[in-house]
């Protein structure tokens, strides 16, 4: 019984491998919406195989275990049915924290009962290589947990989205990180730890919980798409580290898939903001921007304000309208009425398309999900590269709740904090209708947007949902 893992029967090894392959297929399915549901089913089957195989290998305590699965599964199921689509970013952050905590619990259990995991040598001490994996797995899991909790609190508005800057935070974070790595090394070499004693693992755990918090609190709301992708990646690496400990191919394959998935998403998000990963992680974006960018002092610049009826009239008489949604649409839940507006315009013979910037919203693909929820067909929704050239020929760009992603200063003003960020060229449209709550706020980057003051722009100052509702009324009224 000492080498439980080494004695894993061949059928079980193959079953775990099949589960791993099914997980690969589940991600592969997401290459198009048509195959995505089948992909998701593959993932479920893979998970069922992994769980069933494990239970068959370790058939003790089944009533407890099935009870635990039922409790957790029930909670998860209810959350999944009730959650609002606009709350998806905080849900995903919350789920990340659970994976992190589960990894921590597994690591601790393995440390306390190593024989069960087959990671002991003949004398009953924990193998050094297993201690490295365990230390890293517990550390990554703990960082994922506490970091995701902070991200969850920020995304759900329970904590301010603005950066919290501790003095000397870079030194603090680097010091703690170095401490974790050094202690993991000591943990691998220490004889007391090999026998399952001593405080080292608990110190590593405590430091990791701490650094998870201090890493995420300085990062502002606009950078959340990167943070959430990064934590996604971490949760994968934590699972992979535990897979090494358990020598389990399903866990290793999954960990590697999820780890690279999160890393790629982080990269895509950083590229879409023209910022380096390091500068996002260093945090503070949006806090100092007021001091940095060109001051908008002096006389208030003039802009043209319009009413819902004006907007309805302009769009009715347009040939093509491109709608640019942003986080503001999510906040005011305007997606359903926006689709209604699009339908009415289409009835009038207007071509309607949607343009999505990669970092619009609080997580990758956030806007796409909200539009899908509102029954906007996905073949009317376009990514930045695919639609940007069309603004020049379109009659109306209808910007709703987006700001920084339409700011042409990103192309011209080298002193601007958003310089170099790829933007949607809304200013090239014949008319820009810009829905915005008020002229006060200037986006998360704290940069003024010249589009507001352009001759071809009409500002529609109101809550996004109210404004679109009134436009819909205008469109209906204009019919008779």
């Amino acid at each position: 019984m000492e080498h439980a893992v080494a004695a894993t029967p061949a059928w079980a090894v193959l079953a775990y491998l099949v589960a791993g392959v099914l997980f690969i297929l589940s991600l592969r399915g997401l290459s198009s919406p048509e195959s995505a549901q089948a992909g998701n089913r593959n993932g479920m089957i893979g998970m069922a195989i992994a769980v069933a195989t494990t239970l068959a290998l370790h058939p003790t305590g089944l009533p407890f275990i099935i009870g635990a699965i039922a409790i957790g599964g029930g909670i998860g199921w209810v959350i999944a049915q009730r959650i609002q689509m606009t709350a998806m970013p905080e849900l995903v952050a919350g789920f990340h924290s659970l994976v992190g905590m589960a990894a921590v619990l597994v690591g601790c259990a393995a440390y306390l009962n190593p024989a069960a995991f087959g990671i002991t040598d003949g004398a009953g001490s924990i193998l050094a290589v297993s201690r490295v994996e365990m230390g890293l797995g517990v550390a990554i899991g703990a960082i994922t947990f506490s970091g995701s909790i902070i991200a969850f609190l920020k995304l759900s508005g329970r904590m301010s989205g603005s950066p919290i800057l501790l003095p000397g935070r870079h030194i603090l974070n680097l010091g703690v990180l170095a401490g974790i790595l050094v202690l993991t090394g000591v943990f691998a070499l220490d004889a007391t730890a090999a026998a399952g004693g001593g405080p080292l693992l608990w110190i590593i755990l405590g430091l990791s919980f701490l650094i998870g918090v201090t890493l995420i609190i300085p990062i502002g709301g606009a950078d959340m798409p990167v943070v959430i992708s990064m934590l996604n990646s971490y949760s994968g690496w934590a699972a992979a580290a535990m897979g090494f400990t358990l020598q389990n191919s399903a866990m290793i394959i999954t960990g590697a898939l999820v780890g690279s998935s999160g890393a790629i998403l982080s990269y895509i998000m950083c590229r879409a903001m023209n910022r380096s990963f390091i500068s996002v992680i260093a945090g503070g974006f949006g806090a100092e921007a007021d001091a940095g960018g060109p001051k908008t002092s002096g006389p208030a610049k003039s802009y043209k304000a319009g009413s819902a009826d004006d907007a309805a009239f302009i769009m009715q008489n347009a040939e093509s309208v491109i709608i640019v949604p942003g986080y503001g649409m999510a906040v005011s839940q305007a997606q359903h009425v926006l689709r209604e507006m699009g339908d009415l315009l289409k009835k009038e013979g207007v071509s309607v398309k949607y343009a999505i910037h990669p970092v619009a919203g609080r997580m990758p693909g956030h806007m796409n999900v909200l539009l899908a929820e509102a029954n906007v067909p996905y073949d009317e929704v376009f990514e930045l590269e695919d639609i940007n050239s069309e603004f020049g020929q379109c009659d109306v760009a209808f910007v709703i709740g987006a700001n920084d992603v339409t700011n042409p200063l990103a192309k011209t003003d080298k002193t601007s904090p958003i310089y170099g960020m790829p933007i949607l060229d809304v200013e090239k449209a014949k008319t820009v209708l810009f829905v915005k709550r008020s002229m006060g706020g200037v986006g998360y980057a704290g940069v003024d947007n010249p589009v507001f003051y352009a001759d071809n722009t009409m500002m529609l100052l109101a809550d996004a949902k109210k404004m679109v509702e009134n436009i819909v009324k205008g469109l209906n009224g204009g019919g008779h």
Partner: protein, 101 residues
């Protein structure tokens, strides 16, 4: 399995992950995060072992394992269910009659 074979699986899986994830359409990036979240809960395997083996040994490691099973199960059921719900919303434009067929 020795460490090197495991490492080989890991490295190859990272390579596979790299190519598979780049092929995911950006419109599905949110479901991608939800489903990766669900599958990373395969960590439940470790929790199940801890719980099952802990029953005999008794004590803390069993409870740690059971707590891990609960957390991972929230994620498995919640993650797959929410992904399903999201994916069900992605619809193509209704083809008007006579457009195809």
């Amino acid at each position: 399995m020795d460490f090197l074979s495991i490492l080989s699986i890991f490295v190859l899986a990272v390579a596979v992950g790299y190519y598979v994830v780049w092929s995911v359409t950006p419109a599905l990036h949110t479901p991608l995060m939800a489903v990766t979240n669900a599958i990373s809960s395969v960590i439940v395997v470790g929790a199940l072992i801890a719980a099952a083996e802990g029953v005999e040994a008794g004590g803390v490691s069993m409870w740690l394992g059971l707590a891990g099973v609960v957390l991972a199960s929230i994620n498995i059921f919640g993650g797959f269910a929410v992904t399903r719900r999201m994916l069900a919303m992605y619809k193509k434009k209704d083809k008007k009659p006579a457009a195809s067929k």
